[in-house]
Structures are given as structure tokens and as C-alpha cells.
Assembly symmetry: C2
């Protein structure tokens, strides 16, 4: 059965009744599982985590989006996180029995339907980008709602779907397809944040490290530790074990121990199986040998 | 939702039509998933792997057992594997939301019902043993069908349920509860089987190694390797990583490399998460962070 993850971001993090109304369609739609939703008051933004089948996920997204659009007025919205619309970003992530190509097609098809149903203009990003320069979300979101409202009239900022003007209250929505992100933190036994910063430089792509790794060094003051805080943007190409071993190697230079690591949020089973297979030298392992994964496949078959 | 594994062994490994008739109830019963079944002609025996909810698993077992009893005549059965009955052994393994105590209760309740429905006498083994000396399957199966047929009349070999005589064609059945077994092999880069045998001695309980590990050293002649072939009887107490690291340590004494490892058959996700957390120093990891495990929990909730 085709399964995808979807992590829609809504520009509402303060009104509990609106938050609950937005997530209601995710709770109720069969075939769509609400994994998590986190509303942040400072950001005035909510991040939702869903998994499910393509059909139910899209139906639930349309339902939730209509609720968000009817309650959120971007003319009055304030918050610390960059945004261009009430329904700000919708990334689709292929998980099981789905290629990235299928996921891109789904994102584009959903974008058309979303625009027809709501009138909100749509931009496509990441793997679903139609204009190559729009791969990066930051390019589309430059200047946020307030600036885009004016600049959308310029051809280089026209939406990919819809007239070149924002929806009067809901702004615009950015829709895309991407791989699953893993938030991976490595905590170091030193209070010297320089060490974490230097190691972050060695590991992240922007300063010459692994291509699909983003990272910064931060202090964990209350714990007397420092942290290399990372996003692994493509765990299939930049395996967790390889990232960790590079960090252990660099830390030795400073005589600093790796004290512990953390996985924040969701992680696909494949990323962990990949690393355990490396450390334990397990060859020709089939994920279907894991009882729970086999059981999942069987329950999925019954559902479909 | 309560989920258990069950690995019934039937004394039929040669007649395809009988084999298929036995597994049919496992295929058809909703709530019971047939993971695997392997019939061995030399052993004239079939091992079935099931997972599912307690109710459906028991119903399917009764159905399959009646088919086996009607087709298998122990008076004429021959095969290389020790056995006492047409339905030889039924171990129940707690997997999710179930304690070993609940599993023991289930095994005993199933044993009573199985006897009422089939007239076959029942022995309880492992965690479900009623007589302490019957914890080991080999004690109950001593001398096999042919010897038990006579000795069952002796009080020390009376069944736990039923009159002290075998069923005229189906013999007896051994029912029990145990933890999930993991078959774990470590392949060594040497043709000298002495090394594998010595390392097996260091790691297995019978010669002073880990309490819940059984193991032997064997040659893999066609590959020019030798192997430490193990059963991890309790992976919660004897973690895979600890067993592997002991073998790596011992192998260094001989200057022999660990070339690869194999997991044969099914493994619970917890056993792999435990090892990956060790090697990667991941702290406070919740299995529900694994997308597939979370999804499984949600599909299970919908089923129940």
C-alpha cells in the first residue's frame, strides 16, 4: 500500500479552538493518522505530522485547509516564523511503495485541486519545483507575506498556479515533495561551544562537509554540555552512522567525548536499520524480518 | 492491542496438499497473519510463524490442528526430528501489550480447550510448565512418540491434561509460552573450525558464557568461512550487541576477523533498537518515534 508522510504548517499557534478545528479532519479521516501536532505561541504557527494513504491524506488536508483559511487573516497575523499564508507550507514525503516521482506528481495534482477549491495561489518547492530557482523554500518566502503581497505582481514572483495576487486573507501556499528529514543531535562533554561549532563546520555541507547535512553548534548551558544540532536531509545518501563516526573522529582531536545522541521527532525505520546493519555487520537483512514491519505490511494490505 | 507470536510445529513435511490444508485456517482468519511456513522433507515436519491477536490466533490454531489430526497418523509417521504428536509443539510468544504471565495463562487456557476439542493429551513446557522439570521440551519429548506411547502410563510421564494414554493417531501435544528467540550467526574469516568452536564456548551458557545464549561452531565449507551459530533465547537480558562485541573480542585473540553477521528468520524491533541505541549512544529514544511503529500502533487500534 502506498504510504506517505505529510508535514503541513499552519499560521496559527495561539487560539486553541482554531488549532483543534484545524486538526479535526486529520483525526477523523480514516486512512490518515495524526502522529503529532505542535503549536508554538511565539511563532504563532502549528506543525502537523501525518502519515497515511494518498487519497485520505489529500481529503483531510483540503478539509483542514478550508478551516484554517476561514479562521486565519494574514492581514492581522503576527509571529516570529517566516510565512506567506494561512496554510503556509505542505511538504509530501514518500514513505512506502512510492517513488519521489509519484510524490511530485501527487504534490502538483494536489496543488491544482487546492487552488480550485480555495482560490489561494500556489508555489511549488523542493522536488516539486516547476521553476528550478524555487527548489529552496527561502526563495519563495523571501520578504514573507507582507513583501510578497506587492512583489507577486512581478513575473519572477508569479505563483505557479493562480493569478499573480495573494488571496485577500489567506495569502499563498507553498506545496512540495521532499525526502524525510531526521533531526539528529550529538552532545559533547565540554562547555566550550567552539568545539561544537568547529565540528558542525566539518560535518555540514555549507562548509564542505556532507552534502545533505545541515548543522550548527550550540551550548546546552543548564547541562554543562555543547551540542552539534543537525538536520539530515537525505538519510539514504548521508547515513546516520557515517555522520556520527565523523563527529566522533573530530571530537577526538579536541579530547572531547561524545556523551550521548538524540533523535528528535520521527525517523523512518530504514535509517535505523541501515545504521544497526553497519555497526553489527549484518548482511542481506530484509526489513520484513522485523516482526512489527511485517505485521504493518499485513495490516496495510487488509486496509487497502 | 495485544499481539502475540505463535510458532506451531506440525509433523508433516512431505504431502503438499496436507501442508496447504493445515495452513489454510491461518491464511483465512482475520486478525491472524501467516508470516511464514517451512516444510522440511527430511524432518517430515512443518514450522509455521504467526502473529496476531489472542482470539483469532487460537481459533485458527484449533482449525489447523483439527486438519493436521485428521490427516497425520503418528503410527506411520517417520522423520528425522524428535516429535510426540501430529500437532507437536505450540509455543506462544508475547509481543505487544502482553506480559509473560498473560501469555502463560493463554497457553494453559488454550491447552484445556484444545484437549476438549480433540481428545489429544497435553503437556505444558517452558514458562507454562506445571511441573518444574517439564520446563525443557527435551524432557517431555524424551524417547519421542514411540517411547512415550508406553511410558505415558508412568506417573512421572502423565500428561498435564487428559488421561495417561496417547491419542491413537495424533499422539500428544506440547504447549507453552516463551520469549522470542533470535537466530544470530557470526561468520569468521578463517577455515579453522576450532576458532568458531572455541568462540562458541566462550559465548554460550552451557560452557560458562551468557546465560540466555546457545551456540555451536560450524564450518561453512563452500564459502571458506566458519560460523558461530547462535540462538539468543532472551534478547532483553543478553543484548545482541553485547554478544557480538564479546565475539569480536575473542576473535582478536586468534587474529581472525568477523566477516559478517546474519539474522535468520524473524526479530522483534526492540532487539535492533536496543543495539542501534548502544552503538550510536542514543538516549531516551521512544520506539513510537519510528514512523512505521507508530503507524502500526494506529492500524492496530483501528482493528481492535
Amino acid at each position: 500500500m502506498k504510504i506517505l508522510e505529510c508535514v503541513p504548517n499552519f499560521s496559527e499557534g495561539r487560539r486553541p479552538e482554531v488549532i483543534e478545528a484545524i486538526v479535526k479532519p486529520f483525526r477523523e479521516r480514516k486512512g490518515c493518522a495524526l502522529l503529532d501536532y505542535r503549536a508554538d505561541k511565539d511563532h504563532n504557527r502549528m506543525v502537523v505530522s501525518l502519515v497515511g494513504a494518498p487519497g485520505p491524506i489529500q481529503e483531510a488536508l483540503l478539509g483542514a485547509s478550508k478551516v484554517a483559511i476561514s479562521h486565519i487573516d494574514m492581514e492581522r497575523h503576527q509571529g516570529g516564523h517566516p510565512r506567506v499564508g494561512a496554510v503556509d507550507v505542505i511538504p509530501f514525503v514518500p514513505l512506502r511503495d512510492m517513488t519521489m516521482e509519484e510524490c511530485v506528481e501527487l504534490a502538483r495534482g494536489f496543488g491544482r485541486r487546492y487552488h480550485e477549491d480555495t482560490g489561494v495561489p500556489v508555489y511549488f518547492y523542493e522536488e516539486a519545483a516547476v521553476r528550478p530557482e524555487r527548489k529552496g523554500l527561502e526563495v519563495i518566502r523571501k520578504g514573507q507575506y507582507e513583501v510578497l503581497k506587492v512583489e507577486i505582481a512581478n513575473p519572477e514572483r508569479h505563483p505557479d498556479i493562480g493569478e499573480p495576487k495573494l488571496h485577500p486573507s489567506a495569502g499563498a501556499t507553498v506545496i512540495g515533495a521532499r525526502k524525510a528529514l531526521i533531526a539528529f543531535n550529538v552532545n559533547l562533554g565540554t562547555t566550550d561551544v567552539t568545539v561544537a561549532k568547529e565540528i558542525a563546520k566539518a560535518v555540514r555541507s555549507s562548509s564542505g562537509g556532507f552534502w545533505h547535512v545541515k548543522g550548527i553548534g550550540v551550548a546546552l548551558e543548564s547541562r554543562g554540555l555543547t551540542q552539534v544540532s543537525m538536520n539530515i536531509v537525505d538519510y539514504e545518501r548521508n547515513a546516520l552512522y557515517r555522520v556520527l563516526e565523523l563527529i566522533r573522529m573530530e571530537a577526538r582531536k579536541w579530547g572531547v567525548p561524545v556523551v550521548e545522541t538524540e533523535i528528535y521527532g520521527m525517523i523512518p525505520a530504514a535509517a535505523l536499520l541501515d545504521s544497526v546493519s553497519y555497526y553489527m555487520q549484518i548482511t542481506s537483512f530484509d526489513p520484513d524480518q522485523v516482526i512489527e514491519l511485517r505485521l504493518l505490511g499485513m495490516l496495510e494490505d487488509k486496509e487497502s
